[in-house]
């Protein structure tokens, strides 16, 4: 009796609805699943902006490059250089998430040139639900990349149409680690 009566009472309390009786009025699993099904990732990644090359701001670098002779410019192009970039990411998720690492190749989409191999700077980045953050990216510029950058800079401009390819991402969602290698954005 102490087994049957509670079961009958529970069903009677919810009008004999099995789902409501078993899972209650709120079901976090169903809520999160529906939210993932309706996920809108179209505005997830903002434009990437190049902040510094070799610790120089874009304008300082333009002035510097314009002061070099042709031979000095060739030497500059053949040596190793680093860059710092910023990309804005808006989390479309209803729950907190941590980005453990991002790496990939930065690409100038205008000239289809791989500018640099880059990775997330400063360690893991945590996002609250629907939070937007600017992520710092550091990279080593490739040989083709520095040539492309110099071409842009001497023209008075800066690459603006920058994408990421061969992306490797490590995510932490409530302790569950997801690591993936994807295409490009």
């Amino acid at each position: 009796m102490l087994v049957v009566v509670p079961i009958l009472a529970a069903f009677a309390a919810h009008g004999w609805d099995p789902k409501a009786t078993l899972l209650g009025e709120s079901n976090p699993l169903e809520t999160q699943f529906k939210s993932l099904q309706n996920l809108n990732t179209s505005n997830m990644f903002g434009n990437m902006t190049l902040d510094r090359i070799d610790d120089m701001s874009p304008n300082d670098l333009i002035n510097y490059l314009q002061s070099l002779s042709l031979a000095e410019l060739n030497t500059y192009e053949q040596s190793s250089h680093s860059l710092n970039a910023t990309v804005q990411i808006a989390s479309p998720l209803d729950f907190p998430i941590k980005i453990k690492n991002i790496s990939g190749n930065l690409k100038c989409n205008d000239h289809s040139v791989v500018l640099a191999s880059a990775l997330l700077a400063g360690g893991e980045v945590s996002f609250s639900a629907h939070e937007t953050k600017n992520l710092s990216i550091i990279g080593t510029i490739t040989q083709d990349g520095i040539t492309d950058l110099v071409t842009h800079l001497l023209g008075g401009g800066f690459p603006t149409n920058i994408g990421i390819e061969n992306i490797r991402v490590g995510l932490d969602i409530y302790g569950i680690i997801i690591e993936g290698a994807f295409g490009s954005v």
Partner: protein, 274 residues
């Protein structure tokens, strides 16, 4: 007066008094077992008297579970009162019946709380991967049933003391429970063999599932890798389980209640018969 008091003290089943009190307290002494997936994705703590589940930081409530646990709580409190009364007045004609009703309840609850995650983990780690044969489980069930029936028969023939008969009765019931678990495993192996011939790994084409679930207590990691489009993704799921302080009290209660049951003399006429 002094003689009567001394006689009363000597007749009381003190194991039963302690067991009865512990049984009444047990539902309020905390949870027995916990399960955690990730860090806060799923947090579950449970006992036969209640369950608390949080998923993605939100608490899940089930009316059905709440009412069933309420029924179990009331049942164990009544059982505790029965054991207590039977222990205080062991020579009454009803004492053995109350003791029989209540004494083994906590024992079985503790056994089931250990067996459920143990069997669940075994099914997840071994059976779901496929490739198991039914033979070992059928043989296991058969052997358990044979030993149980043989024990019962031999006990009825040769055992004279009432406490030895009760001990064998308990052992027989444990063996029958083991036989039942073997049958459950055999059914699971049959179902997996029929509907998932290559195990759960074959559900997702191009995916590899490595299930690793701890047995009752401990930590383990389950991984799932799959290729999709031009990329590859790996999901790592840490799972940890553990027994809690409430379970320790349950074990103490079960030990005292079994001792009370075995030791309980019953009314003098019954004692003479035994």
């Amino acid at each position: 007066m002094k003689t009567n008091l001394r006689k009363l003290v000597r007749t009381i089943n003190w194991f039963g008094v302690i067991a009865g009190i512990l049984m009444i307290v047990l539902p309020f002494a905390g949870r027995w077992w916990s399960l955690t997936v990730g860090t806060g994705m799923v947090d579950l703590t449970t006992s036969p008297f209640g369950i608390t589940t949080t998923v993605f930081g939100q608490t899940m409530e089930s009316t059905l579970a709440r009412y069933i646990f309420l029924g179990a709580t009331i049942s164990i409190i009544i059982a505790g009162l029965f054991v207590l009364f039977a222990s205080l007045l062991p020579e009454q004609w009803w004492s053995i019946r109350l003791m029989d009703f209540g004494a083994t309840k906590v024992f079985w609850m503790a056994i089931w709380l250990v067996m459920a995650p143990l069997i669940g983990a075994f099914i997840a780690n071994k059976v779901l991967l496929g490739g198991q044969t039914l033979t070992i489980y059928i043989v296991g069930a058969t052997i358990s049933i044979i030993i149980a029936v043989l024990s019962k028969y031999l006990a009825s023939k040769f055992l004279k003391k009432w406490w030895s008969k009760r001990l064998v009765k308990l052992a027989t019931n444990v063996l029958l429970m083991i036989a039942g678990l073997f049958i459950v495993l055999a059914v699971c192996v049959f179902i997996v063999g029929k509907f998932l011939p290559s195990g759960v790994s074959g559900i997702v084409p191009g995916g590899t599932l490595t299930i690793n679930v701890p047995y009752v207590s401990g930590s383990a990691v389950t991984t799932f890798s799959m290729s999709m489009g031009g990329g590859q993704a790996t999901l790592t799921l840490p799972i940890s389980m553990g027994l809690m302080s409430g379970f320790a009290l349950a074990i103490v209660t079960a030990v005292f209640s079994i001792l009370a049951w075995i030791y309980h003399p019953g009314p003098p006429e019954e004692k003479k018969k035994k």
